[in-house]
Symmetry: C2
């Protein structure tokens, strides 16, 4: 009984993982577009004020169970990865 | 023109952020349920084989633009946070 329940919960988790995967990559695509616009404008890709705003929005909308600090840590990793992706795009653009 | 485009892309990013927030917390709730079942079974909450399987599934389903290694790094942070949440629940249960 407990094993069946565990299997069912694991299926739910696998499903959420795939949704998360798609959404993180969707976010990356939007961040890449932003990187292109900023690059064309000649503005800096890293914007600490904008990043702070996004972290505050996470805090305001967090219904749990994760603590806000935990979520902000995870989002900072996503922001960092997005910035690295934008920088890779920029380097490639310079090489063309 | 570029500023309007930037605003529009930022709105899209904010929307994706909120969807991610909900999904990460949904994942945490499922992980908490799994923790409860495993706790009742007396089995270990950390299962390296299951974690490896989940990371392999990420790799198999990654359509980019993020590299698989980047996604696996982000997911490992989410796994770690989920495990900490399960351990908190377990400690609280012991205190009852």
């Amino acid at each position: 009984m407990a094993n069946e329940q565990l299997e069912e919960l694991r299926k739910q988790l696998d499903d959420v993982n795939l949704q998360l995967l798609d959404l993180i990559n969707e976010r990356a695509r939007v961040a890449q577009e932003i990187g292109k616009v900023k690059s064309a404008q000649g503005s800096n890709r890293f914007d600490p004020v904008r990043e702070r705003d996004m972290l505050d929005t996470i805090s305001e909308n967090n219904a749990g169970p994760f603590e806000t600090s935990t979520l902000q840590h995870i989002f900072k990793e996503i922001f960092k990865a997005s910035l690295e992706l934008q920088e890779d795009d920029h380097s490639k653009a310079l090489l063309v």
